[in-house]
């Protein structure tokens, strides 16, 4: 098994004809993802590498039975694309777009509550279940199938850690980039819950960073609800207060937002925390009894 995306995923790409959308659609097809449709308003009837393009999500769903979407639409139009997918009845949405206004995302987050859908991102690398489905911009080559679930606020840091796991021949069940924005569709807790329920996942890796308090909430959740071992890593100990460190959501604004406060919460919850990315793979090996 895997979480969120697998062999049953029938993917729709919103913004399939844009530079990023087209490039990554090609890569997702190469890694065997079942890409069934693309949406670009005004380009219905065309195709991209054999994937039919539709004007609207509704048309695409009706014609192809798509059940998941990945969004490459530019920031000013991205929230609209999310609403369109939600109203189109898609259950898994992955928004790659970086730079969506916070107020747009608050409206999206309010609207999605009434829907039976999961939004991953925005400003995220997507979701990848090795050799099953790749709904992401992640480099598929560094992954191998296995039983470690990875959830992260950062893209390249995920690649770094996955690569070290793979080098140790520790495979992954699913890797989920939840995104680096202040308001994201799905938080650590929800993904950790899915890993806990997934019989194939034997260990979860959580990669956090400065800003907000999602890591603290996750720490409480791990302590009270999870039997699956969790290894964590937090980035941003050297970040100064009040400065945005690349990700819009990575900002120290006192209190719970610092890396110190987060790692303190992890320690208190008895979670294995690595001090650098390389140590993560060591701790995972330990947790799996493979050290």
């Amino acid at each position: 098994m895997a979480i969120l995306v697998d062999e049953g995923t029938r993917l729709l790409v919103q913004g399939i004809t844009g530079r990023e959308g087209a490039f990554h659609t090609g890569r997702m097809l190469q890694s065997g993802t079942n890409v069934v449709a693309g949406v670009t308003p005004g380009k219905e009837g065309q195709d991209y590498e054999g994937v039919p393009i539709f004007n609207t999500v509704d048309d695409a769903v009706e014609e192809t039975g798509a059940n998941a979407s990945v969004i490459f639409v530019p920031p000013p139009f991205a929230a609209d694309a999310i609403f369109e997918s939600l109203d189109g009845g898609l259950s898994t949405l992955c928004c790659i777009t970086e730079g969506i206004p916070v107020h747009d995302m608050m409206r999206v987050a309010g609207y999605i509550k009434g829907k039976n859908a999961t939004l991953i991102g925005p400003n995220c690398p997507g979701v990848l279940s090795p050799e099953k489905s790749n709904v992401s911009i992640m480099p598929g080559d560094i992954f191998m199938p296995g039983n470690v679930g990875v959830v992260s606020r950062s893209g390249t840091l995920t690649y770094q850690i996955v690569n070290e796991l793979t080098q140790r021949e520790i495979g992954q069940s699913t890797a989920v980039g939840i995104g680096g924005d202040p308001i994201i569709g799905t938080d650590f807790i929800e993904i950790l819950g899915l890993f806990e329920a997934d019989p194939e996942t034997g260990c979860a890796v959580m990669i956090g960073e400065i800003g907000g308090n999602a890591e603290q909430l996750a720490a409480e959740y791990v302590q009270s609800e999870m039997s699956t071992p969790v290894v964590a890593y937090i980035a941003g100990f050297t970040a100064p207060e009040g400065k945005t460190m690349g990700h819009a959501g990575a900002i120290v604004s006192g209190g719970e937002s610092t890396a110190e406060a987060k790692s303190e919460a992890l320690r208190e919850a008895g979670i294995r925390a690595a001090t650098n990315p390389s140590e993560v793979a060591e701790l995972v090996a330990e947790a799996l009894g493979q050290a």
Binding site: R27, P75, P76, G99, P101, V102, H103, M105, M106, R107, A109, G110, Y111, I137, M138, P139, D141, I142, S152, R153, S154, G155, T156, L157, T158, Y159, Q160, N163, G180, P182, I183, I207, E209, I210, G212, N213, A214, L217, Y233, A235, G236, F237, T238, A239, P240, K243, T244, M245, G246, H247, A248, G249, A250, G254, G255, A259, T275, N276, P277, S278
Partner: protein
């Protein structure tokens, strides 16, 4: 994007919030003239994009144009938490009856706007949260419904307000929420919000932060960006679309991806070094972008060595290596550079670097080794 008090007030006035008359001044003479125009007792307030100006002596109350000139003389050029005061706001006075605190921020966990109201105005809200948490009312707004009338009543009742004052504070809150939404603000803070002896509700200080990602639809606000107040390197990076934050150390740091770069900074600190900056060059191996980034990082005179941490993902290590070599050549860097290359085709990339590297470029395989090396080289360079 943070706005100055006078800019924030100007925006809030458009939404019906009442402020005292004020004039911006860049010189003591201008301040004197402003005080004369306004008449009576005026406050001379430092305009800086940071808090704590009151404690730092950045606000003075004076009663004549001559005193205004003297006060402005003292305040202009003052350093407040690393920010140089280049303008003061000369503002008229008022007879204050009661002071409150009112703000709207984004609650990341609830994913909703959060209203904070405190009956203790003029004090930092963090302080009140510790000393008198009962004074604070918290209220979350459904962004799809907007602020509801009952929520406004909850606040005014909690504040113990009656009559005109209750109506005035209620109106202010309603208008402030409208401004928060319209301006795509991530923070609007009025501290203090005052009720005067004659029952008026005034915005005495205003802090407005507009969400950077929304600036494409707020050109007028984007134009308020104060280029002079920005750090030279940060300003240049912003213009070319690079994510750069200046720090105090001597190890310049570049990498691809915000998380990886943050982590690189931490690892350098763990190795006993001090990062000089954060710089995310993003994906790809665009030689021009990398050389611009290298140029910005090394233009900080404190930098003694550079650590370039790249994880080749979709962009393969060999392409990254070629881009990097061409960028180093183009930027003409002579400082020691440690390159750590990992990920897809890292071996090929390292081989290319090994065969063609200029003397000042060192390669390492792991992040930790690279960090140690960069720290050593910074020490050697710094003497």
């Amino acid at each position: 994007m943070d706005l100055y008090e006078y800019q924030g007030k100007e925006l809030l006035r458009n939404y019906g919030l009442e402020t005292l008359p004020g004039i911006v001044a860049g010189t003591p003479e201008e301040a004197a003239r402003a005080a004369e125009t306004l008449g009576g007792t005026v406050a001379i307030k430092a305009q800086v994009l940071t808090g704590g100006r009151g404690k730092a002596g950045g606000i003075k109350v004076v009663s004549s144009p001559r005193e205004a000139e003297e006060a402005a003389e003292q305040i202009l050029g003052m350093d407040i938490r690393g920010h140089t005061v280049r303008r003061v706001y000369v503002e008229g006075g008022a007879e204050i009856d009661r002071e409150f605190y009112l703000s709207i921020t984004v609650d990341r966990t609830a994913k909703r706007p959060l209203i904070l109201f405190s009956t203790e105005g003029g004090v930092e809200i963090e302080e009140v949260a510790e000393t008198n948490p009962g004074a604070i009312v918290r209220l979350r707004v459904d962004p799809l419904l907007g602020l509801l009338p009952y929520q406004v009543r909850e606040i005014t009742f909690a504040a113990g307000l009656e009559g005109e004052a209750a109506k005035g504070v209620g109106r202010t809150l309603t208008n402030l929420y409208k401004a928060f939404e319209d301006l795509d603000a991530s923070l609007v803070e009025i501290n203090p919000l005052v009720v005067t002896d004659d029952g008026r509700v005034l915005t005495l200080d205003a802090k407005v932060t507009v969400d950077n990602t929304s600036l494409y639809r707020h050109k007028d606000i984007a134009d308020l960006h104060d280029v002079e107040a920005a750090d030279v390197q940060e300003q240049r990076a912003q213009e070319v679309g690079l994510q750069y934050v200046k720090l105090d150390g001597d190890v310049g740091i570049l990498g691809n991806g915000a998380g990886l770069v943050m982590s690189t900074l931490d690892v350098v600190a763990q190795a006993g070094g001090e990062p000089a900056n954060f710089c995310d060059v993003g994906g790809g191996a665009d030689a021009e972008k990398i050389s611009t980034a290298l140029d910005i990082v090394t233009s900080n005179e404190q930098v003694e060595s550079v650590l370039f941490n790249i994880f080749g993902g979709i962009t393969r290590g060999d392409e990254v290596a070629r881009g990097l070599l061409s960028a180093i050549e183009r930027a003409g860097i002579t400082l020691p550079i440690v390159v750590r290359l990992d990920g897809t085709n890292a071996e090929e990339g390292l081989k290319i670097l090994a065969e063609n590297t200029p003397e000042n470029v060192h390669t390492e395989v792991t992040m930790l080794e690279a960090a140690r090396r960069a720290v050593e080289l910074a020490r050697d360079g710094g003497g």
